[in-house]
């Protein structure tokens, strides 16, 4: 699986959303991505890439797009 596929799968499995909804998805856009859903998403991304996100990054992780660029800090190119 490519990094992009792993990244998308984390969103799709956590929030049960379709591919076409991903690109513009932001925190609290959908009922599933609330503070509880955020914990599940963060854990899923950490697991997928075998990383540990800094607490500030967990707080700042506010959209699908923003998350992609943030992961470059962890040497993960998407």
């Amino acid at each position: 699986m490519t990094n992009l596929e792993k990244y998308q799968q984390a969103f799709k499995e956590t929030f049960m959303v379709d591919d076409d909804k991903l690109a513009n998805l932001k925190y609290q856009d959908i009922p599933e991505w609330d503070s509880v859903g955020h914990m599940a998403l963060m854990a899923s991304i950490e697991e997928a890439f075998n990383i540990s996100l800094e607490i500030d990054d967990v707080i700042d992780f506010s959209s699908y797009e923003y998350g992609k660029s943030m992961l470059s800090k962890y040497n993960i190119d998407i």
Partner: protein, 401 residues
Amino acid sequence: MNLASLPVELLAGSSLHKIQAQTLPPYSEEAIRFLAEVSSRLLKSPEIREYPDIAGFGYWCRRANLSKLALAFDKKYTRLGRGLAFHIAPANVPVNFAFSFAFGLLAGNANIVRVSSAKHPQATVILRAMQELLELSDHARIRRMTSFVRFPRDDEITKALSGISDARIIWGGDATVNRIRTMKTKARCVDVCFADRYSVSLLGADAICDADAESFSRLIVGFYNDVFLLDQNACSSPHLVLWMGNEENIHSAKARFWDGLSEYLDTKLEEPAIHSVDKFTHLCRTAIWLQPINQNRSQSGRIYRVELEQLPVGIENFRGQHGFFFETTDNDLQMLTAILNARYQTLTYYGLDPQIVTRLVVENGLQGLDRVVPVGMALDISTVWDGYDLIGTLSRLIQKI
């Protein structure tokens, strides 16, 4: 007493008489793998929507966090779990039995956990996930080390289990702790006791006046979570609010802060009528005992505030529930210093340097305050809690020179 004949209900893991106290080193791969799988299961379960505290536990025991804790743990000594840990879990915080178990397991112990008779739905969800995993051969070792049981408050059973324990983790406040500590244990048994505690919040008026909309909203949500998620019943939820700043700023900050909290509360479910009655009764009682300079009730009645000029010694005995606060201005923290005793557990802060608090405690040799954390983190339990390093305390050192 024969363990097999004890009248307990087995909720997950092995029967009491099948428990093997074959210990592991702290943060063993077996323990981390088990808890990480519990985490994944919980975070995928639909019930976390209704019970965010289950998500909180699941998020805490994810692999990334446990690996981080393992990395930060003492490497100076060779360590091993103490043996068999017996946990008496509290009724006031539904998920604490799971944290308590995780601490015991991460320290390397076999664990018998007495789950509260209150039958919280959170316990059902967490225990179901654990049991499904414990049935897998992959976790056979953990299964032999684990027993979750429920039994009515019964001193005979508690005595029998105390007699075989190498560590006891006793939650539930002063009365429970004192009763259980009279029971005989092995001579080397270590007790970790969570007694009744009291917590405060220290707010910087300037920072609250200056906060932009986003950080202000974070403050309000954080304070709400600290207080209302457990209805102000947790030891670490603040009951007393101390303000720092000049008079004018404190005045504006109070207005902004309490109005903001009240508005946020309006977005939540309405509170049961009995809560309002409790708060009003408590208000009348405190008005007789203490000399408030002002009493405020938010428009919806969710927040009751009693303003005091002086903090009386023993104010911790006047704790309210469901959103009842005392507040005062304490710029040099002299009043806090005068009342701090061993009952004081957590101080949450906003807009201030926490060093002023830790310095105050250390320089004055005070017995109170074990935790100084930002607003929003009052309930964030981890391996250091209530002044204990739990993994350190629940494991033993093997010294070699």
